[in-house]
C-alpha cells in the first residue's frame, strides 16, 4: 500500500501519469472518492501516461468511454449502476482482460469486482490537497512517487 499527498489537480494528474507507466495492460483499477476528489483528474493523467491525448471526461451518461493508447483504456462510471443486471448490460464483463479498466464510483459494484484489482482512494485533505492511497499494486511500489 502506498500513500501520496497531491497538492493540486495538476499534481494528481502527474501522479496518475507516472503510475500509468507501471501498468501491464489488463488491470482493473477501482477508484473511490467523493465528488471533486479527483477521480476524473486521475483518469486523465493515467490516460496521458498511456499516450492518450483526447479529452477525458466522466462517462456519467455513456457509462463507458474507450480510448486507444499504448493499451486500450476503458473508463467506466458506475454512478447510475445499482444492480448486477445493470452491470451485466453495460457489457462490463466483456471488457475485462482486453485492456485497462478504470472505474469511477466503484462503491456501487464493489461486490462484483474481482479480488485481483488495484484500489485507488482519493480523499479531501483541504481545498486543493488530496491523499491518494494505492492498494493492490505492490509490484509497482516506488514507481510513481
Amino acid at each position: 500500500m502506498q500513500k501520496i499527498i497531491s497538492s493540486s489537480e495538476q499534481h494528481t494528474e502527474q501522479i496518475a501519469c507516472a503510475f500509468a507507466e507501471s501498468l501491464r495492460g489488463d488491470e482493473i483499477i477501482a477508484l473511490y472518492g467523493d465528488l471533486g476528489a479527483g477521480k476524473t483528474a486521475f483518469t486523465r493523467g493515467l490516460a496521458r501516461g498511456l499516450g492518450i491525448n483526447d479529452g477525458v471526461s466522466s462517462p456519467t451518461f455513456a457509462l463507458v468511454h474507450e480510448y486507444e493508447g499504448k493499451y486500450k483504456l476503458y473508463h467506466f462510471d458506475m454512478y447510475r449502476i445499482n444492480s448486477f443486471d445493470d452491470l451485466y448490460s453495460t457489457g462490463f464483463f466483456d471488457y475485462s482482460g482486453n485492456g485497462v479498466l478504470i472505474i469511477e464510483w466503484s462503491e456501487n459494484i464493489e461486490e462484483f469486482l474481482p479480488d485481483e484489482r488495484i484500489n485507488i482512494m482519493l480523499r479531501h485533505l483541504s481545498e486543493n490537497e488530496r491523499e491518494i492511497t494505492i492498494e493492490g499494486a505492490e509490484q509497482y511500489e516506488n514507481s510513481c512517487s
Binding site: S83, F84, D85, Y88, F93, D94, F112
Partner: protein
C-alpha cells in the same frame, strides 16, 4: 440444404457453412478483437471461398445465448439483418447445446459450462450415445459449487467438460469428481460447426423461427436473482 452458422457468444468468433450435412468451410478466431469488426468479414470470406451466395443459404443459425451481453447481441442482430430481407428461416441455438454437438464422437456425459464471472457459470448437461446428443438438463445459471453437486449424480459415467468455464470448473472440482475430464482445446470452445449441427436437428423437429422471432436469450445469474428478491421483499414491507 445449406446452413450458415455463426457464433459470437463469448471470446471466440466463428462462421461455418454446412452443405447437406457436410462441413464445407469454417473460420474460427480466438483473439481479443471485437466481434462487431470480425464477424462480417469472416462470413463474407467464407461465402466467397465456398462460392456460395447468401440467397442460396436455407437456414441461418446463431448461438443466441447464453453468453456475453454484447457478444450475443452482435450474432443475433447480424443474422436478423441478413434474414429479414431474404425472408429466410433462422435457428436460435443454445450456445451450450452447440458445444455438445461439437463432440458427439464418444459416449458419456457432456457438461457444457461457460464462465459467467463472480464464481458463477452457465451450464447444461447432455448425454452422448453412439453419435446422438440428448439433453439432460435445461440451460441454467448456477454457482460452481452447485454444479459440482449436480455432477456428482453422474459419477458412474465419464463427464467431459467443454466451454470457456471448463478450465476453472476442472480446477475447482479437483479430486472430488474423478471421472471429470477436460476436453482438448480444438473441441473445448464453441464453434459454429456445432451451431450448424444443432440447427440441422432443429430443422428436422420444426423448431426454426422467423427473422422477427429470433431474439437474444439471457439467463439471469443467481447473484442477480438474490438481489432482485431482496429488493422485492423490501418493497413489500
Amino acid at each position: 440444404m445449406k446452413i450458415l452458422a455463426v457464433d459470437t457468444s463469448a471470446s471466440p468468433v466463428s462462421a461455418a457453412l454446412l452443405n447437406d450435412g457436410f462441413l464445407a468451410g469454417e473460420f474460427y478466431l480466438n483473439t481479443k478483437t471485437t466481434h462487431s469488426q470480425t464477424l462480417m468479414p469472416l462470413i463474407e470470406q467464407l461465402l466467397k471461398m465456398t462460392d456460395t451466395s447468401l440467397d442460396q443459404i436455407d437456414i441461418f443459425a446463431v448461438n443466441s445465448g447464453p453468453g456475453s451481453f454484447t457478444g450475443v447481441r452482435i450474432g443475433v442482430s447480424s443474422i436478423k439483418g441478413m434474414t429479414m430481407p431474404l425472408n429466410k428461416r433462422c435457428a436460435s441455438v443454445s450456445t451450450l447445446e452447440a458445444m455438445a454437438y461439437s463432440m458427439p464422437y464418444t459416449d458419456g456425459i457432456v457438461c457444457a459450462v461457460m464462465d459467467a464471472r463472480c464464481s458463477q457459470v452457465y451450464n447444461a448437461i447432455f448425454r452422448l450415445d453412439n453419435g446422438s446428443v440428448e439433453r439432460v438438463t435445461e440451460d441454467k445459471a448456477m454457482s460452481i459449487a452447485e454444479l459440482e453437486n449436480e455432477l456428482s449424480y453422474y459419477e458412474e459415467c465419464n463427464i467431459y467438460l467443454v466451454g470457456d468455464g471448463a478450465d476453472i470448473c476442472y480446477k475447482a472440482f479437483g479430486e472430488n469428481l474423478p471421472t471429470v475430464y477436460l476436453t482438448p482445446q480444438n473441441i473445448r470452445y464453441q464453434h459454429a460447426y456445432g451451431t450448424a449441427k444443432a440447427a440441422e436437428k432443429m430443422a428436422e423437429q420444426n423448431k426454426l423461427v422467423s427473422s422477427d422471432e429470433l431474439m437474444p436469450f439471457y439467463l439471469r445469474l443467481p447473484q442477480a436473482e438474490r438481489e432482485l428478491r431482496a429488493k422485492q421483499q423490501k418493497e413489500n414491507k
